[in-house]
Amino acid sequence: MADRSQHLGQIMETQTRYDLNAAIENWRQELAVQPNLTAEVRRELETHLRDAIAGFQQRGLNDEESFRMACKTIGQLRQIGKEFKENKIFPMNKRAIGFGAGYGLVMGLVMFLIGLWLAYRPGSVFIQPFLLLNAPAIGLTSRLHDESYNWFSNAGLSQLLAAFLIYWSLLGFLSGFGSHILMQNRKTPKHN
């Protein structure tokens, strides 16, 4: 008798288990279409779902109820995806800063060398655009000393180089940050 009921129980269990697996598979498919969720996060969430199902089963709920409750406690997958998307804002800012710094080093150095080259070519057509492009850096740096200061000394040249590097890295940072903000605004869906 005990054997028989156990056997019956087993049959029922395998039958419901089959349904449970199908339900989990459906849930996984819904999970897979969520943007912003990496494969690792999806795996984590699935483990969580399975743990939660086991937890409810232990409390005596049947497979279907356990699955339903587990889904409910995990919450809206779309909402989780949204939250993960917001996580990304910071690394983007960091990227913008990194972009700015790299951009600044390269552009600052290039501009500095162009400046040196132009210094030996008075009357060049490039002087005017160069001064215009670097006006803030040159203008602010030139205020540091009076007119008799020798900008071609080591100290003078390093001050100019520093000014160019700072100016261009600032520009790089601002453009990186600006494009980030634009992208954010474009991607953010309207709140309902």
């Binding site: 690792e40 996060v41 795996r43 984590e44 969430l45 483990t47 969580h48 399975r50 743990d51 939660a52 937890g55 406690t73 995990i74 919450g75 809206q76 997958l77 909402q79 989780i80 939250e83 993960f84 917001e86 996580n87 910071f90 690394p91």
Partner: protein
């Protein structure tokens, strides 16, 4: 009998960091276990939507406050375990001081009026 209100959304958001860091300071853990622990310790008053735990955990990991590792549990199921980093311990210390400041200030204000929540 007294009735307690559920934590507001703002409070849940603000307290999640010290809660998670404190739990992990007591030993490594994984998402499901962390949720169970919070539920148990708060007497069910702090109810997180389970899935929302993961963005927070990943944020803490990104900020270097916790670290993680996939490991096989006794059941044979692979789980992602989280543990606190040394930076996390430092942040927890400041968080702790700040929450205690709030707690003590409110405690002084309410001293003569026992509060039934």
């Amino acid at each position: 009998m007294y009735k307690t209100a559920m934590l507001t959304k703002d409070l849940v958001a603000a307290s999640s960091k010290p809660l998670l860091l404190s739990i992990l300071a007591g030993g490594e853990s994984y998402g499901y276990e962390i949720i169970q622990k919070v539920r148990e310790l708060s007497g069910g008053q702090i109810e997180w939507s389970d899935g929302m735990l993961y963005p927070v955990l990943h944020r803490l990991e990104r900020d270097g406050l916790i670290e993680s590792e996939w490991k096989e549990a006794d059941t044979g199921r692979q789980r992602k375990y989280y543990f606190i980093s040394s930076d996390g311990r430092k942040v927890l210390k400041t968080e702790r001081q700040q929450w205690l400041t709030v707690h003590n200030t409110l405690g002084k204000l309410w001293k003569h009026k026992p509060v039934t929540i």
